[in-house]
Subunit: 235 residues, 4 copies
């Protein structure tokens, strides 16, 4: 495919075009401290085209022209920006696309995610917080209810990011209701049916992780506290 | 009513028009972490027209065209944006308009509100902090004084947001001086005579909730501390 | 004086004109959480003209047209914006202008200031932190050195802000080296020879107050710690 | 050299010109709280020209015209802005340029750096956190791995910033793998081959310092915790 054709894949005046959205969202995530030091990344799927941010670039200064584009079926790159490396997260993004038919996948180094991964063992769970209702049930239509428990599996980190693929895919199989996976001492992967849903899920989960850390600091159990006997079901 | 007429209800070049203000304030609240993950909401009353942000949208990317408009007397929608759901907070906003003749009502998922709801039982109180003076007496003209105690009732959360209506209205009756109600494990509702007053009350209350959490972490009682014997009245 | 003349006092295209600067700095302070809920304020002196932000307005939405202008000699208002009240801090700003020949005075409700006022009794002191070098000696030319101790008096709050005047002036007399006064359970007043110096002093002090709270939380004494035996003089 | 020639050294429409970048980055660092109160600084090298921000100016309001330019070989100033003093950090920036052939050097008063310097003695170390992979090995090509330990030496502060030069140079000799040096009760110096690498190293290190403080507050050892037995090598 000629360069011109490849470049046309990322050139658009539509602010909602994946190549433009990735730049906007990376700026937002950078300001949230989720992707500083070039950590983290994001990928958006449009049909069979997967848009992926490059590796090791300043997330707040990315340009649409920096985007890689891959064909989901052939796994071949339709566009490779000059002098840039594809994100090491690519195999993990593909896991979400292949196993969950995701429309977008977000990876951050959120400190809330890392701290929670140091406080919990095999899974993080939280219940009876209104914000949980922003998250999907996955195994059935609709979102979690206030009395439901959110469960996010925690997998161990590996020396090389791409080596997380197997355990991430195993977690996706073992936790069919999960829309995110925590990576111990590393961060979190969150995916959704669309980029907007992935963004909302990531925001809601980070809110809950931050809240759980605060509750721990104040000695409040994550699924019970003052008043819990009044509005907490056994979970 | 024709669509054109309905659309004219939210189309204005005046930055202080409710449809424009709701968008601006949601952006501000989003940056404060009060309405991330599409949580929370805001409503402004203009005469008998109630402007309400839709449910489940990116609060920082809302447009005036997304606004619902309801007639306060008939409770009928004068405008329903295509493919959007009205906020589940609507009955609660109406409770503030009907029972307190409010001009605006703000609902956030502020983490300070949620944490305080886990540390206090039936009411949150704080006294002898200058910021209290930004809040109204309600039962008489003017604002609270430095030596007054701010009291905010805490109601239990319910599975469905609209089911909060009865207990919210009961709290409004039981606490005639309250301009806000905390919802345990959920967030806070704050209202005021105008949108600007509601905004200021919400900012001042969140400041006090945040301060009370810090005081708890440092082992300082919320209505006394070093120096309290010198400038604290018995409350 | 005619309205036109009065208005000309606050109308300027120069971004460094006091009426413009007050608006810019209030926006900055609002984003720092120092003046939310309409708390706090700022005043700048230009010759014998004192520019004062009004009371009870949204600090991030102030306009030059909202400014009061007072004559330092006669204490008469040269300009009174319609339907606005002068800041209750005005007598306290005047105390800094009169007793210290200040060029500007900043008042915030910084939570760091309030928390420190609950942890310390009559004075806050901190030593051996590089940031101290941003603060002036006052009693002699130049700034504090790394081994010097910064001392900020703490006065008790009063029911009415204007009643702080006497104790503030007493603190200014008792602590001739102070460029700031903490008000218990209220906030802080910081002044300087120019608006830029007042801004820098306020930033440096808030940095030190925040650091002192963190040190307290970690059990580190504010003027000693690991390594202190190596680079701390007895203070 | 004529003034005009000197001025041409800092006048450029290229946003990546050092004189422009220093202004942009100082604004960013100011918003991160790293250089408030005129603390900290930054220098960028372009060939043999060293661009240095002036001392004691508002970091968020700097202009390219405020920049000093020095010749790395002769150590003579090629440009001295009127009525400005060169940064007291200059000898320390030169140490990084001379001993490490750095392309840029960043100095901040980050509170995370100061707090860590109060919790650790002669060195700060952290291991088994993904963010470490953003940092260089220095003594060999490439970046640290997940199982590697990041080591940052801590030197004692001195009364005068320029007096830090000897101990900073000694630390650079004693820790050949270091790309940063912590200064107790003061802040941190971070350098890199290019300004972008220095920026990324500074962000990644501050992320790790902040995380280490949180881990300390939660009683988690910086190089081990829940799950550590599963993915931590002895370091």
């Amino acid at each position: 495919m000629s360069n011109a054709n490849a470049d046309s894949l990322v050139a658009s005046h539509d602010p909602n075009h994946p190549a433009n959205l990735i730049c906007d969202l990376c700026k937002l995530f950078y300001n949230n401290g989720w992707v500083t030091g070039t950590g983290g990344g994001i990928s958006i799927r449009k049909g069979d085209h997967i848009f992926i941010a490059p590796s090791g670039v300043q997330k707040e200064r990315m340009l649409p022209d920096n985007m890689f584009v891959m064909d989901l079926q052939t796994k071949e790159y339709l566009r490779v920006p000059q002098s840039l490396k594809p994100s090491a997260c690519t195999p993990l993004f593909l896991a979400a696309y292949t196993n969950r038919n995701a429309g977008a996948c977000i990876h951050t180094h959120s400190q809330n995610a890392v701290v929670i991964s140091l406080l919990y063992d095999k899974v993080f769970t939280i219940a009876n917080i209104e914000q949980i209702k922003a998250l999907p049930k996955i195994t059935e239509p609709g979102c979690l209810g206030f009395f439901d428990t959110l469960t996010i599996p925690i997998i161990e980190n590996t020396a090389h990011e791409e080596d997380l693929k197997d355990s991430l895919e195993q977690a996706i199989i073992d936790y069919p209701a999960a829309t995110a996976v925590l990576v111990r001492r590393h961060g979190i992967y969150v995916w959704g049916e669309t980029v907007w849903k992935a963004k909302v899920y990531n925001e809601a989960i980070d809110y809950l992780l931050e809240l759980a850390v605060k509750m721990r600091q104040l000695g409040i159990p994550p699924d019970g506290a003052i008043g819990s006997e009044r509005n907490t079901r056994v979970v």
